[in-house]
């Protein structure tokens, strides 16, 4: 179990081993921007890793292909990562993501 802080909401998300950040957020009842639901396709779940980048596993083939195909060049670079493809190895990762909300009850 590793803790990831999501700003600006300030939520701490406990991610299980082998679980992507997005799946953990869903499991804990957060609403997270997406229209492809975890298929590395819509780019809407992408985050900026602002601290603890060394505790994030490198992007795999699916993610690199998706980033190259779907993101404008100006938005690529080391920063953006897809929450649906993001696996962490320890506590202390901080990501920035607008639009994350606790699901309203009901």
């Amino acid at each position: 179990m590793s803790r990831v802080r999501v700003e600006p909401l300030g939520a701490d998300i406990e991610v299980e081993a082998g679980e992507a950040l997005l799946d953990a957020a869903w499991r804990l009842g957060y609403d997270w921007p997406t229209t492809c639901w975890g298929q590395a396709d819509c780019m809407l779940c992408r985050v900026e890793v602002i601290a603890g980048a060394e505790l994030v596993e490198p992007a795999g083939d699916d993610e690199r292909r998706a980033l190259a195909r779907k993101l404008p060049r100006s938005e690529r670079g080391p920063g953006p990562r897809l929450a649906c493809q993001l696996y962490v190895t320890g506590d202390g990762v901080v990501v920035h993501k607008e639009g994350v909300r606790p699901l309203s009850p009901g």
């Binding site: 992507a20 997005l22 997406t34 229209t35 492809c36 639901w37 975890g38 298929q39 396709d41 649906c84």
Partner: protein, 444 residues
């Protein structure tokens, strides 16, 4: 009219004499299209292994001819099959395999979305359609029939087809006692063969080709490897099986029974890496250290296999009727295209399908499966890749030998000197049985 006559009237190149098979059945386009429309659209077919979709939301795309379906685990004990086309403008909803995460199936074109139970959950732009066109009942994903047996998922596109279990019998009754449902993938590979899907699988519907095709298995004594050492059984619905006759096991070297059995086991282990695996080889070789009694070595071997399994935590079931163990080493064919060859706690599994739209190309898969120790975690099987039939680094000796004959048969079919296949009544009844059942489908 007899049944055979009726079939002849509607099916081209129909089987009129069970021991003669017209060559056109393996390459004629009309026949191939009839198979597509009347066989594959209405027969139970193995779509994937259950272990490929362990978690809710996991899916596998199964393709056959021009059809694609998504086999989805929709609950811990529930699996559904959906025709793979968006209800909007037909986009295939998913390819290959993966997981529908957050329980959602999303069309990549306009973002229409479904819950994994097939109900629509989000219809983007619905306000732009006539209300009736986007009514909820209009938009459910369309299901095909799904059922499971032996650790595998089967699908059928025909709503009126007989139940799976009925179609497969007696194979479940013969194989369940051997624990096939407990087996998991050890390796899984595929080969593209330039041969009709039936030609490829017919190589495994008889066992008497061993003497010539796999000479190493005769331990240098081909004359002692009798063609009639196996018993062949044909069943309803095209199924068949064969295994060693009581007392039919060739004794290659009566004076050296132990070493002969160890040697033939090693040839199977090294030449196939299936049915007899490293752990079995270890057990069999260790029998050298037991006092030898003439004529009981086979029984000692079986006992040692069970003792080892018990000690290693391998849940190898002891059949209620020990006679079931005669089926170790046998070949079991489940119409139309699926084979299980059980041995000890393992099996070799085959599936043959047409490869795209070419009657003379098939996609042939091989799985080596085994009952893992109960303590081993469940993992999704990894597909090992598609290899050329002559790739000596990919294929062990025995499949290489089989593949080379299959493509030569397919080419030979077109020879001016060949018209039809002649079958041995005593050894090749399974092939005839398969073709006769095929004609029943094609004449419906």
């Amino acid at each position: 009219m007899t049944q055979l006559d009726e079939r002849t009237a509607t099916v081209p190149f129909a089987v009129t004499d069970p021991w003669w098979i017209d060559r056109e059945r393996y390459y004629d386009r009309t026949f191939f299209e009839l198979e597509r429309d009347r066989l594959w659209n209405s027969v139970w077919q193995m779509a994937c292994r259950l272990e490929e979709i362990p978690a809710v939301g996991d899916y596998v795309e199964y393709t056959i001819c021009d059809q694609s379906v998504l086999v989805v685990r929709t609950g811990p004990e529930q699996i559904k099959g959906y025709y793979n086309a968006c209800r909007h403008r037909a986009t295939q909803l998913a390819l290959g395999c993966g997981s529908f995460r957050g329980g959602q199936i999303v069309c990549p074109f306009h973002g229409w979305r479904w819950n994994i139970d097939g109900s629509p959950s989000f219809i983007y732009g619905a306000e732009g359609f006539a209300a009736a066109a986007v009514a909820e009942r209009e938009l459910h994903l369309v299901e095909c029939r799904v059922d499971t047996w032996g650790g595998c998922v089967f699908v059928n596109f025909d709503r009126d087809a007989r139940p799976l279990r009925e179609a497969l019998e007696p194979m479940p009754s013969l194989l369940d006692p051997l624990g096939v449902d407990r087996m998991r993938v050890y390796w899984w590979k595929a080969v593209r063969l330039k041969a009709n899907w039936k030609m490829a699988q017919e190589a495994f519907l008889e066992g008497w080709h061993v003497m010539q095709t796999h000479p190493q298995l005769t331990l240098g004594r081909p004359a002692d490897y009798r063609a009639d050492s196996l018993e062949y059984h044909s069943y309803a619905h095209g199924n068949s099986g064969y295994w060693t006759k009581p007392g039919g096991r060739p004794v290659w070297d009566a004076d050296r029974e132990v070493e002969s059995i160890i040697e033939s086991s090693r040839l199977l282990y090294e030449g196939l890496d299936a049915m007899t695996l490293a752990r079995d080889m270890h057990v069999i070789e260790s029998l050298r250290t037991r006092p030898y009694e003439k004529g009981v070595f086979g029984a000692q071997l079986v006992q040692a296999i069970f003792e080892y399994a018990a000690g290693a935590g391998i849940p190898l079931p002891m059949p209620e009727d020990p006679a079931a163990l005669v089926r170790w080493g046998g070949v079991f064919y489940l119409f139309p295209n699926f084979f299980i060859l059980p041995q000890y706690g393992n099996a070799l599994v085959y599936r043959s399908r047409p490869d795209g739209d070419d009657p003379e190309a098939c996609y042939f898969e091989l799985w080596s499966v085994t009952i893992p120790p109960a303590s081993e975690p469940e993992v999704k099987p990894e597909f090992g890749g598609v290899y050329r039939p002559d790739d000596t680094s990919a294929w062990p000796q025995i499949p290489l030998q089989d593949f080379s004959n299959i493509e030569r048969q397919q080419r030979g079919l077109h020879s001016h000197g060949f018209r039809r296949l002649r079958l041995a009544q005593d050894y090749e009844g399974g092939i005839s049985n398969m073709h006769q059942e095929l004609d029943r489908y094609l004449s419906r």
